[in-house]
Symmetry: C2
Subunit: 308 residues, 2 copies
């Protein structure tokens, strides 16, 4: 096989996606696989830039078109979230912690999806099963992915296994879970520097549900006011995205990391379906979702059901 | 959760599908999960009946309609092969060793697919990871699934891991791999008692490829002559199935277990596409496939590509 193999996460790379790609490519190299490297399908966010800088690791190269390559998908398993050209690539493996999406293959491949807080958590098992030691730097990357995706173990997606793995990785990396986690949260929250469109699309996923095309952005912050104080500009940006991409609904979750609740803004024609799905009532295009922190676990499943 | 959970294999239950369902349901019961039992989606074949009798295990109950239940799918992951009503059930887990199919979920679930020779092989890992000991009877069931799917470790799908696991299971079960394997093969080969339609549909899978609906039956035997001597009756039966089920192509692989080769018979309108996919030429609706033993690994991928 002369085609290159890329370990790659989704198109809106967050820290778990980037660190999982780096760590899994390293494991495969350690195991003697040739022609394997980590890649990314989009621009880095400030939190991930901080992480790579902190652990002194080079960013994976940007892959603009995957046509003709072999792909190991990490942290996603649906085509609407993959790198361009993925349908013309050979998908050779999947490691993920999301819902089961629409990726199909012709031949049997390793596909490992587990309902845990981060892809990093599963990768720790893969290192263990392969008998490969996790060094301090890789532990730092994996810990970053885990703490970022679980909002420092606060998200409802967090499992006991995530907590145990986080403690172990922190020890290997030589940092404290809470102390290092606070640094991550601080970078996640650098909202003041972002424009409204960036707030909407900075951490964004697109879904093809039964009867609708739905985009869901999320801002996780300790200062929700920074977004909500400029809600008119944010709603304008959302309307722009809806007409460009022809969404039936576009949601922006503004998640308060400290109070563990979200405010959701909505755009598109299918507000009634969104209301039914989330069991919430929008007033002036805004609704309050007490206890909601996880797009994946608390927002996507009921919306998919409502759009079916 | 008051809905029952069924661990269930595909609609044409073979020994790996039935034994995987029994063993995994047992593991879940051992782990204290409530309301979990094994089920089957179709009639047992003579080989599986022999296995259940040999290890003195009751057959899983037949599930005719899965609507409203929770399903753990073993040995398959596509809707065309699932129990009736699966689209109205909640799929809560998948353990398989085939291509990645079209099952999608709303929430993250455990999904473990590995390119090994049998689902039983993966289940041994799941017992180990759970720290649950495999008793002699369960080892016998798992060994049966493994040896049946790999044609006693002769199929090209067989991996080193399958060989290691088979030795270990045989030791626990107190049988010899080759000796017990020969008993299985003898039951797989009781062809003389079958009618032509039974030969076609006895071990049968249906696929929705890009541009075609394709059925592929397989007869694995040490006496291919028993099928090929009545090829006209078998072809008539195949034509009947094509018109009943509206297939674009229907293949019957007659696999010679000793010489490790197959003869394939064809029905339906898309013979040219099948020829292109298999790189074979049909003469009088029959072609010879040297070295081909595995439907999954050597027939499905090239056919899917040809129908795309």
């Amino acid at each position: 096989m002369s085609e290159p193999t890329y370990v790659i996460g989704h198109r809106k790379p967050d820290t778990d996606t980037v660190c999982a790609a780096l760590a899994y490519a390293e494991l495969k190299q350690e195991q003697g696989e040739e022609g394997v490297s980590a890649a990314r399908a989009g621009d880095l966010n400030p939190e991930t830039e901080f992480v790579l800088d902190y652990w002194d690791v080079e960013a994976p190269a940007l892959l603009e078109d995957a046509t003709g390559t072999r792909l190991v998908l990490v942290d996603h398993n649906e085509y609407s979230q993959t790198v361009s050209g993925a349908r013309e690539a050979e998908i050779v493996e999947v490691v993920d912690h999301h819902r089961i999406g629409d990726v199909e293959t012709s031949a049997p491949i390793p596909f490992r999806n587990e309902p845990v807080g981060s892809t990093a958590t599963i990768l720790v098992d893969l290192f263990d099963e392969a008998g490969v030691t996790i060094d301090a730097r890789t532990a730092g990357l994996l810990l970053s992915g885990l703490l970022s995706d679980t909002v420092v173990l606060r998200s409802p997606t967090t499992t006991e296994r995530d907590r145990t793995v986080a403690e172990r990785l922190a020890e290997t990396a030589g940092v404290g879970v809470e102390e290092y986690g606070e640094k991550l949260l601080a970078h996640k929250s650098k909202l003041g520097e972002k424009g409204p469109r960036e707030m909407v699309l900075g951490d964004f996923k697109e879904f093809e549900f039964g009867s609708g095309r739905v985009g869901i952005g999320q801002v996780e912050t300790v200062e929700p006011g920074v977004v909500l104080d400029q809600r008119d500009a944010v709603l304008d940006a959302m309307d722009g995205v809806v007409s460009e991409r022809d969404y039936d609904a576009l949601l922006l979750l503004v998640t308060d990391l400290l109070d563990e609740e979200s405010t959701v803004l909505v755009a598109g024609d299918e507000t009634a379906t969104v209301e039914a799905g989330l069991d919430a009532r929008f007033s002036d295009r805004e609704a309050f979702l007490p206890g909601v922190m996880s797009r994946k676990k608390q927002v996507v499943p009921p919306l998919e059901a409502a759009f079916d």
